[in-house]
Symmetry: C2
Subunit: 221 residues, 2 copies
């Protein structure tokens, strides 16, 4: 845990964190390969290496989980990524669909002093421009009671507080229908045959497909 990690190693840790954070208990070789956009063979090599460094628990054919050290490092990477996103969005006025890729690079810069000063400079934000919580320097996440738009009952009134995909395509689509964090929705209809929704927002009616609604995080409002 004393040695600095390469960018590549850091990206693998983040990928395993991301995979095991949601549904899966362990991150399989193929899932990781997909996440870091490489071959399964390369992943196997890296898993051995990270296992030797005690950052993951890995056994042949059984996938990987993060060790406490691995979790700590991955959480700090997430903290850095999200704080840089706030900087790019709030200070440099980048549109939200462009911040992810630049933050991917900035997050690899290693200086605790830098990131803590940045945190203060930004006013210690607790959520990033996609609505994701920013871990504290101790690794604690702020939790929020939120649900996905596809799971709230008809006639509910909700506020968009986050998006669970950060791709430029998805966010650009949301821009085009004038949906952003803070946008209020009232569910006016549910179509059970394709799970699409009709909602009222900004005084207009919108059709939201299931593919979109399951990636919109909302709270009652």
């Amino acid at each position: 845990m004393e040695n600095k990690l390469s960018h590549t190693e850091e990206n693998y840790l983040k990928a395993i964190f991301k995979i095991t954070e949601r549904a899966e208990k362990v991150a399989s070789t193929n899932k990781i390969a997909e996440q870091v956009q490489t071959s399964a063979a390369s992943v196997t090599d890296m898993l051995k290496k990270l296992n030797d460094k005690s950052l993951i628990n890995y056994e042949k054919y059984k996938g990987a989980t993060l060790t406490p050290d691995g979790i700590r490092l991955a959480t700090q990477l997430v903290r850095k990524h999200r704080l840089w996103e706030v900087f790019l969005y709030d200070k440099l006025k980048f549109p939200w669909e462009q911040i992810h890729d630049i933050a991917e690079e900035l997050e690899h810069i290693n200086s605790d002093d830098l990131i803590n000063r940045l945190d203060n400079f930004l006013g210690n934000p607790r959520f990033d421009p996609h609505g994701d919580p920013i871990p504290t320097s101790e690794g604690k996440f702020m939790l929020r009671n939120q649900s996905t738009l596809d799971s709230v009952p008809i006639h509910s009134k909700v506020i968009l507080v986050g998006v669970s995909h950060h791709s430029s395509e998805f966010l650009t689509y949301l821009n085009s229908i004038n949906v952003k964090l803070g946008t209020k929705f009232k569910i006016t209809g549910k179509n059970s045959y394709d799970n699409s929704l009709t909602v009222e927002s900004n005084g207009t009616q919108l059709l939201i497909t299931h593919e979109v609604s399951k990636n919109l995080l909302v709270k009652p409002g």
Copy 2:
């Protein structure tokens, strides 16, 4: 010139720029090795590679100079480095002796949009916290009529506008004698046997060695 360069390649370009910017017409293998802290053999390998990419002119045993493309890239790196230094100093309130090393990492992030937005965010500064000029996005440098403190006549009054070494040791020493950009000096004495100076600054007398005075850039004031 279309391919992205590795951090290492960029560091070599910067090193050659730095060497040929001052005295030397060409950058020798050994000078470069010293600058990037590696062996002469490694430098030879890299010079061949950069020559193949048309970023430098290199002939065996004859050292290297930058091509126009190489100059353009090196200048953009200098621009990025110095703008990040302004950010770290002005916005994050880092002391000036700590900003160089972090900017070394930040300068490798590639996004013209990022750096131009940063420039605007910082108010389009023309000099960095060490007093070095920041190139414009077109690669133009602001020049200033300045001289080194060791070369001004006795009884002159001058203002410190730059330092030509950025090492943490040197800058920490200047902090300790309460010298910073903008500090005014009056030369009260010159000791010809060791070229040290006595100066009046902030109402107190200081002894400045030749080693220090030749790295202080001043303008009349």
